[in-house]
């Protein structure tokens, strides 16, 4: 454990820490950000009125749209001379979301990422290859600072250039890989296709911290078997800090939230009402210690569940379930709720299929049409047409029985589906365009 005092803190003590920090954070936001002042005032809430943590429920939410509307620096709570770093989302829809960090924020971020690496069994003895993209995207630098903080050896290779990644894993004795899960699968594919001489099991690679996109248990199993490593889910979002919000430990049964820095609530995404602990809903974040960009009740749109059960790793921090979907990428197809992650699970079930897929939703004659495009790799490909047709039919049948929707399944060539920032673009909803 990187910081046992906080990661294994007694709940009553943790609540005290949270309450004290929350008071500071609310006041800091109210005093320095006109948006928060207006929104608190409109709700008739003064930061001084916070008596218990539950009083936070009186504070209005911060929506992604509010962040976009504040582009670029409207939500910054410190003067620019205190801001030492800026990150930004790719901003494919509407304006990009911009976040700033003070020196202390960078230190906090390094701390939670160091905890993340330790959670995955890492220490100063590790060689961490950071294959997340470096740049405005938070993945690369977030992992980098955390790995340095813990004293590991950092290989800041960034994303892409798979041959070079493989070479450095071997030559530098990389023990831990940090990248998106789809890039890890990409690497395994590359080896299978082009490098019969390369064996991950003969390298020192033993663990991976994978995040920045939702992934399934099947993907974990696939990565673990094909690369011979332990695959850990790490979670974060740039609005809150970047990677380092929560991560899996050796128990691999949920992600510990670093709740001494990020206060979490679960709400009903429809009504906005808080849900009791253990129920599934949208996770909402409030930063407790961040200076440059405090977020107060930020609606993440990520759907998960929180539970506080004793963990074999000794951490007392609350756990969140692997994020299974988002309240805003939930697709309603002819009245049926469909999460892309469910479609992914179906694809993984159909033997050998890898999750390079894209869902296209369109509306024709007032009827929703769903098309799932699946990239055909060598394991799926056959020189016999009937085998290919059977594959598409199997996927179609499983979708029908599991999701209750009939989808068109289209087999496409490798690398034809869009990816951005190393993240796969899973859903294209053309219905919004009209």
């Amino acid at each position: 454990m990187f910081n046992k005092e906080y990661e294994a803190m007694q709940l009553s003590k943790l609540r005290e820490v949270q309450l004290e920090r929350l008071r500071w954070s609310l006041k800091h936001a109210y005093d320095n950000v006109p948006f928060y002042r207006q929104s608190f005032d409109a709700a008739g809430f003064g930061p001084g009125q916070l008596k218990t943590l539950d009083d936070l429920r009186r504070v209005p939410f911060l929506m992604k749209q509010n962040m976009r509307d504040s582009y670029p620096f409207g939500l910054f709570a410190v003067p620019m001379e205190k801001v030492v770093r800026i990150h930004s989302s790719s901003g494919t829809t509407g304006n990009a979301t911009v976040v700033g960090y003070t020196k202390n924020d960078i230190e906090l971020w390094a701390e939670v990422m160091a905890r993340t690496i330790a959670c995955a069994g890492g220490s100063s003895k590790d060689v961490v290859q950071v294959a997340y993209g470096y740049g405005l995207f938070t993945g690369g630098l977030g992992a980098h600072y955390g790995a340095e903080k813990i004293g590991a050896t950092v290989v800041p290779i960034s994303g892409g250039n798979t041959e070079r990644q493989l070479m450095l894993i071997k030559d530098f004795g990389t023990t831990m890989l940090a990248c998106t899960p789809s890039y890890a699968i990409n690497m395994a594919d590359h080896v299978e296709r082009n490098r019969p001489d390369y064996d991950f099991r003969k390298t020192k690679l033993r663990a991976g911290i994978f995040g920045a996109e939702p992934w399934t248990e099947q993907m974990r199993t696939e990565i673990e078997t094909r690369m011979g490593i332990d695959a850990f889910d790490i979670y974060g979002l740039s609005e809150v800090i970047g990677p380092g919000v929560s991560c899996e430990c050796s128990a691999k049964s949920g992600l510990h939230v670093f709740e001494d820095h990020f206060y979490v609530e679960i709400i009903d995404p429809e009504s906005g009402e808080a849900l009791p602990e253990g129920e599934k809903g949208e996770i909402v974040y409030t930063s407790l210690t961040k200076e440059a960009c405090p977020v107060i009740r930020y609606r993440s749109r990520d759907i998960t569940r929180l539970y506080r059960t004793p963990c074999s790793c000794g951490r007392t921090l609350v756990k969140m379930e692997k994020v299974t979907g988002r309240s805003d990428d939930m697709l309603i197809i002819r009245g049926v709720n469909v999460f892309p992650s469910q479609i992914e699970a179906v694809l993984m079930e159909v033997e050998g299929t890898e999750p390079h897929y894209q869902i296209i939703v369109d509306r024709k004659d007032a009827l929703d049409d769903i098309e799932v495009m699946v990239e055909v790799n060598e394991r799926l490909f056959s020189d016999e047409l009937k085998v290919m047709n059977q594959l598409a039919a199997r996927i179609r049948q499983r979708m029908q029985s599991v999701l209750g929707v009939s989808a068109k399944v289209t087999l496409v060539e490798p690398r034809t589906l869009a990816r951005s920032e190393g993240k796969a673009v899973r859903v294209v909803d053309k219905r919004k365009l009209k």
Binding site: V376, L380, E384, L385, M388, N389, E413, P414
Partner: protein, 143 residues
């Protein structure tokens, strides 16, 4: 005596076949014969080339999905009923043909056809007994 066929997955879109063939041409790979099986959205290109392994390598390098398959090239007399007779022999031996296609040029005044059997070893045994000539690799694709 097997011939290695190069099979390629392509989306049914303008320019896809051309770009695959361009990749092969760039490595001086000569196509001896080619056939396409297609459905609405995609097709499978099957071809006999002079260097299938190099062909597969260069296609993969350019991110095409492809594979190699063992097939048989068989001489069939160029006369009415000859193919029917051959198929009769195959079915008598319980040999299932997944697909077949032909070479454009004749050999020893005979047609040469490519057969993809579900069980190539059984096919070879049966064909030898029936007196069909399986054309050697060297005679099809050169050295």
């Amino acid at each position: 005596m097997n011939i290695t066929q190069l099979s390629l997955f392509l989306e049914n879109k303008p320019g896809r076949l051309q770009s695959a063939l361009k990749v092969l041409a760039g490595k001086n790979i000569n196509i001896r014969t080619l056939t396409i099986a297609e459905v609405t959205d995609f097709g499978i290109v099957r071809m006999i080339v002079n260097n299938p392994d190099e062909g597969a390598r260069v296609l993969r390098e350019n991110h095409f999905t492809c594979s190699t398959t063992e097939v048989l090239a068989i001489e069939i007399s160029d006369e009415p009923g000859a193919l029917e007779k051959a198929l009769e022999a195959f079915s008598r031996h319980g040999l299932n043909i997944e697909y077949m296609y032909a070479f454009t040029e004749k050999r020893n005044d005979k047609a040469v056809m490519i057969f993809r059997f579900d069980d190539i070893e059984a096919a070879k045994k049966a064909l030898a007994g029936e007196g069909y000539k399986i054309v050697k690799k060297i005679d099809i694709i050169g050295e």
